[in-house]
C-alpha cells in the first residue's frame, strides 16, 4: 500500500508541475488549466473567503472534496496529494539522517500547528494576508513560481546557451532541438525574473532543509492546513489497528515521518497520521493494518491547551491590526501599481493570498511581488513594475488565474478601459523636452486607439542653427490607462523619462486627478 501511496504522490506532483507549466499564455486569450486547481482544493481559502468577505466562488466548492476526504480518511491529503508534503518526503530521503525512535513518537510540541491554525483563521476573518504567507499550497506555488523555478530555468538556459555558443556543430545539432522542445513545452517563454525570488526561494529551501532535523518538520509543527485536516479527521473511519502479534521491535515508530506514535501501546495519534502506510510496511510480523472501524475519541485528540488556544486567538486578533499599522492604505506608495481588475486596496489585501499565480502568468514579467511597498500586510502581493514589464493591452490572464478574486476576471473591453495608473513625463530627462532631440517611442508604443501620448509640434533650432520641427510629447490624462509600456520602452534606459504612478486608478475614485475630465476629441 505504501507503494500505491508513492505512486499517488508522484502522480499528484507531476500534475502539480504540469499545471504550473501550463500557467502561461497558451496561444488563446483564455487560459486552459492553471495550477489554481490545487489552490481551489484548499478549504482554508474557501472557508475564510466566505467568513471574511461573505462571498463565495463556485469553483471553491472543490475544496469540499478535501473536507469530505478528510472526514472519512483523515489526513490522507497530506500523505497522498499535497505537493509540499511530497517534496518533504523527497527531502527526508535526501537528508538520510539516522532515524531516532523519539521522532516517531508524538510530542506535545506538535500542537503548535493548531495554534498556527487558530491564528491564521482568526486573522483570516479580517484579512487573508497572514494565511497566504502560511498556507502550504500558496507557499509552494509561490516559492516555485518566483524562486526555485526561475533559478532552475537559469541553469537549463545557461547550459544550452553555452553549448550553442561554444559547442561543436554535432553537439549543437542535437542540443538545439532538445532546447526548442523544452522552450515549447516546459520553460517559460523568456527567462522569468522576480524581485523577491531569492528570498522566497531560500525560505522554501530552508523549510525543506528542516527535514534534516526532523522529518516533515513543517507538517508536524507549522502547517495550518495539516492542522485543519487533523481536526477534521476526528470522525474519520480509517484507523490503525493491531491485527497480529507485536514483538515491540519499534520499526513502525522509526518509520513514522510525522510522530503519530504508530506503536499502539503509546496511543496512535490520528490527527498526526498522514496514512503513509510506512509503519504497516515496516512491521516484520505484519501486526499492523489500517481498517475501517468506528472512530474512537482517544485517537483524535488534539493537544491544544486552553491557555495556548487563548494565546493563539489573541495573536490572530492582533496580527491583522499589527501588519496594518502602516500608512500605506491611506497614503499608498505611488509606485504600487496593482494589476487591472484588482479590487480597492483594502478589499484586495483581504483577499490576496500571495500565491503568485498572477505573476507567473503575466506575459511581460511585469507583475512582481512587493516587499514593503504595500505595507507588511501586502508583502508578496502583485505590483506592476513597468521598467521590468508593462501591462499588455489585450491580456486578461492575471484575473483569470486569481484563486480568491482579489483580481477580478475582466472581459477584454472592460480591461482595456481599466485605469491602473497615469504616466508622467520627466521633462528633465525626456529627449525632446530636455535635449532638443526628437524621440517619439512612447507615443508609438501607446496602445489606446486614441493615443494617450500626443505631440505638440514646435519650431526649434538645433545647435548648428538649423530649424527643425520638434515634437514635444505630453500625456492626455483622460486617455492614459497606466499600462506602463511607455516607461518600459523609454530609450532613457536608467531612470525613465516617462514613468507611471498609481494616481487615477479606477479602483480608487478618491485618487482621481482631474476635477472634470474633458471629453476627448
Amino acid at each position: 500500500m505504501a507503494n500505491v501511496r508513492r505512486i499517488s504522490q508522484i502522480v499528484f506532483i507531476l500534475l502539480f508541475f504540469y499545471l504550473l507549466v501550463q500557467t502561461q499564455y497558451q496561444g488563446r486569450d483564455e487560459i486552459g488549466y492553471p495550477v489554481r486547481l490545487f489552490l481551489d482544493l484548499d478549504p482554508l481559502f474557501a472557508g475564510l473567503l466566505l467568513l471574511s468577505s461573505f462571498s463565495f466562488k463556485p469553483i471553491l466548492l472543490l475544496s469540499l472534496i478535501t473536507v469530505g476526504v478528510s472526514l472519512i480518511l483523515g489526513r490522507f491529503f497530506c500523505g497522498w496529494v499535497c505537493p509540499f508534503g511530497t517534496l518533504h518526503n523527497a527531502a527526508r530521503e535526501l537528508a538520510r539522517r539516522p532515524r531516532k525512535l523519539e521522532h516517531g513518537l508524538y510530542a506535545r510540541t506538535q500542537a503548535w500547528k493548531y495554534a498556527v491554525l487558530v491564528g491564521v483563521v482568526v486573522s483570516g476573518v479580517f484579512s487573508m494576508s497572514v494565511l497566504g504567507v502560511m498556507d502550504p499550497l500558496s507557499l509552494t506555488v509561490r516559492s516555485i513560481s518566483l524562486g526555485i523555478g526561475p533559478s532552475l530555468e537559469l541553469i537549463v538556459r545557461a547550459a544550452f546557451d553555452g553549448l550553442y555558443a561554444h559547442g561543436p556543430g554535432w553537439l549543437t545539432a542535437a542540443s538545439e532541438p532538445a532546447y526548442n522542445f523544452l522552450k515549447d513545452h516546459v520553460l517559460a517563454f523568456s527567462q522569468p525574473r522576480f524581485l523577491q525570488g531569492a528570498f522566497v526561494g531560500l525560505i522554501f529551501i530552508g523549510l525543506l532543509a528542516l527535514n534534516a532535523a526532523k522529518s516533515r518538520f513543517w507538517c508536524r509543527y507549522v502547517c495550518p492546513l495539516g492542522a485543519l485536516l487533523g481536526v477534521l479527521s476526528k470522525p474519520a473511519l480509517l484507523r490503525l489497528g493491531l491485527v497480529g502479534q507485536c514483538d515491540r521491535c519499534g520499526k513502525c515508530v522509526l518509520s513514522c515521518p510525522t510522530g503519530a506514535s504508530p506503536a499502539l501501546a503509546d496511543g496512535w495519534r490520528k490527527a498526526e497520521c498522514i496514512y503513509c502506510w510506512n509503519c504497516v510496511e515496516a512491521c516484520p510480523t505484519n501486526a499492523l493494518a489500517f481498517t475501517f472501524a468506528t472512530p474512537r475519541a482517544k485517537d483524535g485528540r488534539v493537544d491544544l491547551s486552553r491557555r495556548n488556544f487563548v494565546w493563539s486567538l489573541g495573536a490572530g486578533l492582533v496580527a491583522v491590526p499589527l501588519v496594518r499599522v502602516s500608512p500605506s492604505l491611506s497614503r499608498p506608495n505611488p509606485r504600487l501599481i496593482r494589476p487591472p481588475g484588482a479590487r480597492p486596496e483594502k478589499e484586495f489585501l483581504e483577499r490576496c493570498v500571495k500565491c503568485s499565480e498572477c505573476m507567473r502568468v503575466c506575459l511581460t514579467n511585469g507583475l512582481q511581488p512587493t516587499l514593503a511597498e504595500a505595507g507588511l500586510e501586502g508583502m508578496w502581493s502583485p505590483m506592476l513594475v513597468p521598467r521590468i514589464g508593462y501591462c499588455e493591452y489585450s491580456c486578461t490572464l492575471c484575473g483569470q488565474v486569481c484563486p480568491t478574486g482579489a483580481i477580478e476576471k475582466l472581459d477584454l473591453d472592460t480591461k482595456r478601459k481599466t485605469v491602473i495608473g497615469l504616466a508622467f513625463i520627466d521633462k528633465n530627462r525626456c529627449l525632446p523636452h530636455a535635449m532638443n532631440v526628437n524621440c517619439a517611442v512612447c507615443e508609438e508604443q501607446c496602445p489606446t486607439p486614441k493615443k494617450a501620448i500626443v505631440f505638440k509640434d514646435t519650431e526649434s533650432v538645433d545647435a548648428n542653427g538649423n530649424k527643425f520641427t520638434l515634437k514635444l510629447p505630453y500625456v492626455v490624462p483622460e486617455l492614459c490607462i497606466g499600462c506602463g509600456i511607455c516607461e518600459n520602452k523609454c530609450p532613457v534606459v536608467d531612470e525613465p523619462a516617462i514613468y507611471v504612478t498609481n494616481l487615477n486608478e479606477s479602483r480608487s475614485p478618491s485618487r482621481s486627478l482631474l476635477l472634470a475630465p474633458k471629453s476627448t476629441p
Binding site: 499564455y25 496561444g27 488563446r28 546557451d161 550553442y164 555558443a165 517563454f189 506575459l363 511581460t364 499588455e392 493591452y393 489585450s394 491580456c395 529627449l431 532631440v437 526628437n438 524621440c439 517619439a440 517611442v441 507615443e443 508609438e444 508604443q445 501607446c446 496602445p447 489606446t448 486607439p449 486614441k450 493615443k451 505631440f455 515634437k471 520602452k489 523609454c490 530609450p491 534606459v493
Partner: protein, 319 residues
C-alpha cells in the same frame, strides 16, 4: 579562393543556369511578362517610352492573393525573385497585438500567398519572423500571420536573442548594429510591410519594416528616422517587396486600434525599388514621397527613386 570553393561556385552557377533555362515555368513566366508589359504600356504611354525594367506594379481590386498573383505575373513571375534551392526570409509586419481588421499588421492571407509563391519558385525553405513590439506570442496569433504562414509551409519562429550578430551597416547614422542572423544568412529577402500612418515617421511602409530584423536599442532610431531608415534601406536589399495596402491605417499609427481609422483599398504595390514603392504608397495617404524625409535621404544614397515620373511602373486592375 581554394579549389573546393571554386568547384562549389562554378557548380552552383551551372546548376542555376541549367535549372532556370530548362524550367518550363520560367518560359511561361517570360511569356506572361510580355503580356504584362503590354498592360503597362496601355496604362501609361509615357512610361512605356522609358527604358529599363518595371520598378513596381500596382494591382488593385482583388483579394490579396489575386492581387499578388497578378503583380507577380506582370513582373515576370516568381522565378525572377527566387531560385531553386533558396532559403527565403519573408518579413511581414507582426509588430503589434492587433487583428488584421485593425490594419496594424500585414494581411495574413497575403503573407500566406507570398510564402506559397516562394515554394512555387523552388525555394528550399521559407522563414517568417518579426521582432514585435508587443508580446511576440500574442502578435503572432492575433495577426493571423503565424497560422497563415505555417499553413503555406513556412518555418515560423520567434526571435531568439542569441541570433543577433553585430555587423557594420556602414550607414550615415547606423554604424555597427545587431542584425538578426537569419535575415543576413538567407539567400533571398522578401519584404511584406503594411502601409500605415506613423506618429513620428508620418508613414511606415517598406523601409520602416526593416526595423523588425534589427536588435536593440532600436528605439534610438526614432531620433533621426530620416537618416536611419535610409540607412536600413541601403543595407537590406530584398529581391522583392510587397507593400500591403489591402487595408491601410490612416491615423493613430502604427498601432491604431479603431477600425474607423482603417480604409480598405484592396491594393498591393509590388516591385524591387523600395523607395519608389514607398513613394507610391504615400499617395494613398494624400502625400507625396518627397514629403517623407527618409525617402528623400534614401534616394540621395542611391537606394531608389523617389520621383515617380522617373520610374517605370504600371497599374493593373484585377477583376
Amino acid at each position: 579562393m581554394d579549389r573546393r570553393q571554386f568547384l562549389k561556385v562554378t557548380g552552383a552557377s551551372a546548376a542555376t543556369l541549367a535549372v532556370t533555362g530548362m524550367n518550363p515555368l520560367a518560359a511561361l513566366a517570360a511569356r506572361e511578362q510580355t503580356s504584362g508589359g503590354q498592360a503597362a504600356a496601355q496604362a501609361s504611354a509615357k512610361q512605356a517610352a522609358q527604358q529599363g525594367p518595371l520598378a513596381f506594379v500596382v494591382t488593385r481590386g482583388g483579394k490579396p492573393e489575386k492581387n499578388y498573383a497578378a503583380a507577380l505575373k506582370a513582373l515576370g513571375g516568381i522565378s525572377k525573385f527566387v531560385t531553386r534551392g533558396d532559403v527565403v526570409v519573408v518579413k511581414p509586419n507582426i509588430g503589434w497585438d492587433r487583428t488584421p481588421a485593425q490594419a496594424a499588421t500585414t494581411d495574413p492571407t497575403l503573407v500566406g500567398a507570398v510564402v506559397k509563391s516562394c515554394y512555387d519558385g523552388g525555394a528550399k525553405k521559407v522563414k517568417v519572423f518579426d521582432y514585435p513590439c508587443n508580446d511576440p506570442r500574442r502578435t503572432y496569433v492575433r495577426s493571423g500571420i503565424a497560422e497563415a504562414a505555417k499553413a503555406a509551409g513556412a518555418e515560423v519562429s520567434f526571435i531568439d536573442d542569441r541570433k543577433f550578430r553585430r555587423v557594420d551597416m556602414k550607414g550615415t547614422v547606423l554604424k555597427t548594429w545587431p542584425v538578426y542572423a537569419e535575415a543576413l544568412d538567407c539567400d533571398r529577402l522578401i519584404n511584406v510591410p503594411i502601409a500605415k500612418h506613423h506618429g513620428s515617421a508620418r508613414l511606415t511602409m517598406c523601409l520602416k519594416n526593416w526595423m523588425g530584423v534589427i536588435g536593440d536599442p532600436r528605439g534610438r532610431l526614432h531620433q533621426d528616422f530620416d537618416h536611419s531608415l535610409a540607412d536600413l534601406g541601403r543595407f537590406f536589399r530584398p529581391s522583392l517587396s510587397v507593400l500591403d495596402a489591402t487595408r491601410i491605417l490612416t491615423a493613430y499609427g502604427p498601432q491604431g486600434g479603431d477600425t474607423k481609422d482603417v480604409r480598405t483599398l484592396n491594393t498591393l504595390v509590388v516591385g524591387t525599388d523600395e523607395v519608389a514603392i514607398d513613394s507610391y504608397g504615400a499617395t494613398f495617404f494624400g502625400m507625396k514621397g518627397a514629403q517623407l524625409g527618409y525617402l528623400v535621404q534614401a534616394a540621395r544614397l542611391g537606394v531608389g527613386q523617389v520621383d515617380l515620373t522617373k520610374v517605370r511602373h504600371s497599374v493593373i486592375d484585377v477583376a
